[in-house]
C-alpha cells in the first residue's frame, strides 16, 4: 500500500445494485382528462423508452465504478465522471453525497474525472441525463461509505453498528462517545468491503436533497478564482491561435508568408493543420496579430456554393408530403423554417496540450472525454494509456463541448511544435467554424371534426446533425432495448424518435425526421430536435384551438393526456393570470412540453407594439421533473431555457452565405441581452414523485411555443420562419 493510499479510505464499487430502467408506461396512464373531449393517442416510442433510458442502460455495466474517498481531515472527495458546464451538476451530486453520508455539504468536494476508458459508455454528459443516470449509483456509493465509517466505529468501540448514528460527519454512540469521519477513515479503509445490501436512505428521510441550495462553486465564480481551461497554470504552455479558411471545411494549400510571420514580435512557431494554420506566440494578442497577418492560399470547403436560400429549398424538397385528403376534411396546415443557431458559449473553444515523445497531457472542457482521448492518441501516435485527458469545468456548452476539436488541434500543434500550448479559438471562428444547430423545415397538419382532433402529422427535414462524439456507441449498445415502432430507423431517426413525442391526445399521431446530408459543422443544441419540432407543434396547437373556437389553455387542458401534465399548465395559467387584459400590441402566449419523464408549461407576456422590436416582459414557468435534487438549480436551468427560447425565436440565428456563416460575434448573432429579457420571471417547481426526470433541456421547447404564440397574438400574424426578425443588420467581418 502506498503512503497516499493509507491516508484515506476508498470505496470503489464494481458490482451494480439493481437499477430500475426503462419503466414501461401503459395506455392506462394516458386516460384523457375529459373522456368525451379527445381521441386517445397511443404512447409514442419516446413515451416507452427515451434516449436517456438508453444511455442509462448502456452505461449500466460501469455505472457503479464511482470513486469516493474520505481523508483524515474528514473531507469527502468524489470523482464525477461527467462535465460541469454551468448546469449545476457538481452541486447536485455533492448534495446527494452529503445527504447519504450525513456530512455537511461544505465538506464534500467534487472533482471532474479524467477520461476513464474503463467506464466504456458511462462518461458522456448530454441528453439531460446526468442526474437520471447518477442518482442511484451516487447514493449507493455514498451509503456504502457511510456504512464503512459506522462499521469502523463499531469495531473500535465493540458495539453493534445499529447502535450508532451519524451527525454532521461524526459517528455517535448511545453512550455519548463520538468519532469523526476523519479519525475513522484509515480504519474504514482496512475493513472488509461492506456487503452490497447497503441501501440508501428513504427519500422521505432526505433533509438536504430537495432543499434549495446555492452552487458549491459560487464563491470561486464571483471572485474570479475559478480556473477555466485557459486560466490554468501549465508550465511553459504558450498561447496559440489558428487562422481558419474563408469557407466551412476549407483546406490549406499554401502558406505564402510564413517566414515574415515567424519574424513578427513574440511569434514562436507556425504550424499547418488540417483545419488551418496555427501560430504559437508569447501572448494571445501577438498570436492574434500574427494569425491575421498570415497569407494563406485556401482550397475549397464542403459547402462553398450553398447559401440560406439553397439550403432552405433543399430542406423543403426533402420534407415528405403529407397524405392527400378529401376536400371536405377540416384541417390546420403549416410549414415552418428554423435558421441555424450557434451554440456560442461564452468561453470559446479552447484547450491546453503538452505532448511529449512518450506521453501527452490535455486539459479541455469535454463532455465526451473518452472519445477525445481515443482521437488524440491516434492523432499524436501514442497508446491511449499514455494520453491523460483532464476534464475542465467550462464556460457554457449547450451541446458544443460534446466535440473535442480544440483539444485535438492543441495536441497536434504541441506535438509538431515540441512545446506545450494553450489554444484558443477567436469569437469569430467560434461562430463561423464552430458548431451550430442545423436548420430545419417542418410540415405539420392536423385534421379535426366534431370538436375532436383526428390526426396529427409532422414531417421534419433537418440538415444532418453530427453525432460522432461517442453517443452513437452508447445508443447502438442499447439498441436491443428499443421499443417497437422504431424498427430499422437510421441513427438520427432513432434519436429523433426517442426524444420527440406529442403530449396530446390528437388521434393518429405521426412525427418523422428526414435528414439532408450537408458537410457542415452541426451538433446537438440544447433540446436537440425538440426546440424546433415541439415549438412548431405548440404554434399549431394554438391555431387548432382557434379553429375549434377554444381558448389556448382550455384547449390544451382538454387534450393533454395526464393529470400531471395538466397540473403544470394550470399552475402557469393561475399564477400568470391567463386571459388578463393587456394593451394593444401586447399579448400572452402559452406553451407546453414533455420530455425525459419531466413536463413543463410556460406563459409569457410580450410587448410587440413595434413588431421589429418585441420584448418578452414577463414569464411564468412551472415544471414537474419528478424527484428534485436542487430546486434552485432546476430554476436556473429553466431560466436559461427561457432565455434561449426568447433569443432563437425572436432574433438569434446564423445566415449561411456561400459556405460560411455571416455572423461572427454577439453584435451579429443576437443572443438576448438584459434589455431583451423579462423584468418579471416566476418559476414554480412542482414536487413530483419517483425518480428524477431530465431537466437541462426541458425549458426550451415550451418557451419557444409560448414566445411564438404571444408574438402571433400580439401582432395578429402567423409566424412561420424563425427567428422572426432576422435581417442582416450588420456588416460581416472579412472572411
Amino acid at each position: 500500500m502506498t503512503r497516499h493510499a493509507r491516508r484515506r479510505f476508498l470505496t470503489y464499487l464494481v458490482a451494480a445494485p439493481s437499477l430500475a430502467v426503462a419503466t414501461k408506461i401503459g395506455l392506462d396512464a394516458y386516460a384523457p382528462g375529459n373522456a368525451d373531449a379527445a381521441i386517445p393517442t397511443p404512447p409514442a416510442p419516446a413515451d416507452l423508452v427515451d434516449l436517456g433510458d438508453l444511455l442509462i442502460l448502456a452505461g449500466k455495466p460501469t455505472a457503479n465504478m464511482l470513486v469516493l474517498s474520505v481523508n483524515e481531515d474528514g473531507d469527502v472527495h468524489f470523482r464525477l465522471p461527467r462535465e460541469e458546464v454551468g448546469q449545476g451538476l457538481t452541486t447536485a451530486v455533492a448534495m446527494l453525497v452529503a445527504e447519504e453520508l450525513d456530512t455537511p455539504l461544505d465538506r464534500v468536494h467534487i472533482q471532474l474525472d479524467d477520461a476513464r476508458p474503463e467506464l466504456l459508455l458511462n462518461q458522456l454528459t448530454g441528453s439531460s441525463n446526468s442526474i437520471r443516470s447518477l442518482y442511484d449509483p451516487v447514493r449507493h456509493t455514498a451509503a456504502a461509505a457511510r456504512a464503512r465509517m459506522v462499521g469502523a466505529a463499531a469495531d473500535r468501540w465493540g458495539l453493534k453498528a445499529r447502535e450508532l448514528t451519524v451527525r454532521a460527519g461524526v459517528v455517535v454512540a448511545s453512550d455519548g462517545r463520538t468519532a469523526s469521519y476523519g479519525s475513522l477513515s484509515a480504519a474504514a479503509a482496512s475493513l472488509e468491503p461492506v456487503a452490497l445490501t447497503v441501501t440508501p436512505k428513504k427519500e422521505s428521510e432526505h433533509i438536504l436533497v430537495g432543499t434549495p441550495t446555492s452552487r458549491i462553486d459560487a464563491r470561486a465564480l464571483v471572485t474570479g478564482k475559478h480556473a477555466y481551461t485557459l486560466d490554468l497554470d501549465v508550465p511553459g504552455a504558450k498561447p496559440c491561435m489558428v487562422r481558419r479558411p474563408p469557407t466551412v471545411n476549407g483546406t490549406v494549400k499554401a502558406v505564402n508568408n510564413e517566414s515574415a510571420v515567424r519574424a513578427m514580435p513574440g511569434v514562436l512557431d507556425v504550424v499547418t493543420l488540417d483545419t488551418g494554420v496555427a501560430v504559437v506566440a508569447e501572448t494571445f494578442g501577438q498570436a492574434l496579430d500574427a494569425k491575421e497577418a498570415l497569407d494563406v492560399t485556401w482550397g475549397p470547403g464542403t459547402v462553398d456554393a450553398l447559401s440560406d436560400d439553397d439550403i432552405r429549398a433543399r430542406l423543403k424538397a426533402a420534407t415528405p408530403s403529407l397524405d392527400v385528403l378529401g376536400v371536405l376534411v377540416k384541417k390546420v396546415e403549416a410549414e415552418f423554417d428554423f435558421a441555424f443557431a450557434s451554440h456560442a458559449p461564452m468561453e470559446t473553444n479552447s484547450a491546453v496540450a503538452d505532448v511529449r515523445a512518450d506521453r501527452a497531457e490535455i486539459w479541455s472542457g469535454l463532455k465526451s472525454p473518452i472519445a477525445a482521448q481515443a482521437a488524440i492518441a491516434k492523432a499524436v501516435g501514442l497508446p491511449v494509456s499514455e494520453v491523460t485527458v483532464h476534464v475542465v469545468q467550462s464556460g457554457g456548452s449547450f451541446g458544443r463541448r460534446l466535440f473535442h476539436d480544440a483539444a485535438l488541434e492543441a495536441a497536434v500543434v504541441s506535438k509538431k511544435s515540441g512545446r506545450a500550448v494553450r489554444l484558443m479559438w477567436s469569437r469569430i471562428d467560434d461562430m463561423r467554424h464552430g458548431r451550430m444547430r442545423p436548420a430545419t423545415h417542418h410540415r405539420v397538419r392536423a385534421t379535426y371534426a366534431a370538436g375532436q382532433v383526428l390526426t396529427f402529422q409532422h414531417q421534419v427535414a433537418a440538415v444532418e446533425t453530427d453525432f460522432r462524439h461517442g453517443l452513437g456507441d452508447a445508443v447502438t449498445a442499447a439498441a436491443a432495448d428499443l421499443p417497437t415502432g422504431i424498427g430499422n430507423a437510421t441513427f438520427a431517426q432513432t434519436l429523433f424518435l426517442t426524444t420527440v413525442k406529442s403530449p396530446y391526445n390528437f388521434g393518429v399521431t405521426t412525427q418523422a425526421l428526414t435528414e439532408v446530408p450537408l458537410k457542415m459543422h452541426t451538433g446537438s443544441w440544447r433540446s436537440v430536435y425538440s426546440a424546433n419540432t415541439r415549438g412548431a407543434e405548440e404554434i399549431v396547437v394554438d391555431e387548432l384551438a382557434a379553429k375549434l373556437g377554444k381558448d389556448p389553455v382550455a384547449f390544451r387542458r382538454a387534450f393533454l393526456k395526464t393529470a400531471r401534465q395538466r397540473a403544470v399548465l394550470d399552475k402557469v395559467a393561475a399564477a400568470g393570470d391567463w386571459g388578463r387584459s393587456l394593451p394593444g400590441g401586447w399579448a400572452q402566449g402559452v406553451g407546453f412540453h414533455e420530455e425525459y419523464k419531466s413536463c413543463t408549461a410556460c406563459l409569457v407576456e410580450i410587448d410587440a407594439t413595434d413588431p421589429k422590436k418585441p420584448r418578452v416582459t414577463k414569464a411564468v414557468i412551472a415544471a414537474d421533473v419528478g424527484r428534485v435534487i436542487n430546486p434552485r438549480g432546476l430554476e436556473a436551468q429553466l431560466l436559461g431555457g427561457l432565455t434561449d427560447a426568447i433569443s432563437t425565436t425572436l432574433r438569434a440565428g446564423l445566415h449561411i452565405d456561400r459556405g460560411l456563416p455571416l455572423e461572427g460575434s454577439y453584435s451579429q448573432f443576437h443572443y438576448a441581452r438584459q434589455k431583451d429579457s423579462p423584468r418579471d420571471v416566476k418559476i414554480f417547481v412542482i414536487e413530483g414523485a419517483d425518480e428524477p426526470g431530465g431537466a437541462g433541456e426541458l425549458g426550451v421547447p415550451a418557451a419557444v411555443g409560448a414566445v411564438a404564440n404571444a408574438y402571433a397574438r400580439a401582432t395578429g400574424t402567423r409566424p412561420r420562419s424563425f427567428p422572426v426578425n432576422f435581417d442582416v443588420d450588420f456588416t460581416p467581418f472579412p472572411r
Binding site: T283, F284, R427, G640, T643, Q674
Partner: protein
C-alpha cells in the same frame, strides 16, 4: 520593447509590451491576472469588464499604454481580503452564476452602475449590455437590486 507601469488591484506592476497590446493580454498573459475573460476581443460581449480609475472599461480594446500611471481593478481586486463586495454578496444570495464565465464582467459592470446610480431603475439595469449566454439576466437584475439595498 516599451515598458508600462501601472497599478493592478492596488499593486504597482511594470510590463514590457508593445504600446498597442490590449490590456487584457497584458493582464492575463504577462501578469497572470486571469479574472477578466476573453469573449470577443472587440468590446461586444464585455466579459472582460474591469475598472480603470474606477470607470468600467473593456481591457480587450484598451491598449496597455493607456493604463500607464493609472489604477486597474479587476474582479480579483473587488473584495477586501475575505470580505466580499456587496455586489458579490448579492450575487451569492441570488445564486446568479451558471457557467460563470461572464460573471466577473457582469459584477464589474454592476459595481460601476451602482457607483453612478445608487438606486438603479429597471431601465438603468437594461443598459448593461454584457452578454450572459446561460441567460441568467433575471437573477442578475435581482442581484443588482439587492446590492443597491445592501449599499443604501
Amino acid at each position: 520593447m516599451p515598458s508600462h507601469t501601472f497599478s493592478v488591484n492596488g499593486e504597482t506592476v511594470t510590463v514590457d509590451a508593445p504600446d498597442d497590446l490590449p490590456l487584457l493580454w497584458a493582464l492575463r498573459d504577462l501578469l497572470g491576472v486571469r479574472g477578466p475573460k476573453y469573449g470577443c476581443g472587440i468590446d461586444v460581449c464585455k466579459a472582460c469588464t474591469s475598472h480603470l480609475d474606477g470607470e468600467a472599461v473593456r481591457p480587450c480594446v484598451v491598449p496597455v499604454s493607456e493604463a500607464a500611471g493609472r489604477e486597474v481593478t479587476t474582479i480579483e481586486g473587488l473584495a477586501d481580503g475575505d470580505r466580499l463586495h456587496p455586489v458579490q454578496e448579492a450575487w451569492l444570495e441570488q445564486d446568479v452564476a451558471q457557467c460563470g464565465y461572464c460573471q466577473p464582467g457582469q459584477i464589474m459592470a454592476a459595481v460601476a452602475l451602482l457607483k453612478r446610480t445608487r438606486n438603479p431603475t429597471d431601465a438603468d439595469i437594461d443598459e448593461i449590455a454584457n452578454v450572459c449566454r446561460c441567460g441568467t439576466y433575471f437573477r442578475i437584475r435581482e442581484a443588482i437590486k439587492s446590492a443597491a439595498d445592501r449599499m443604501a
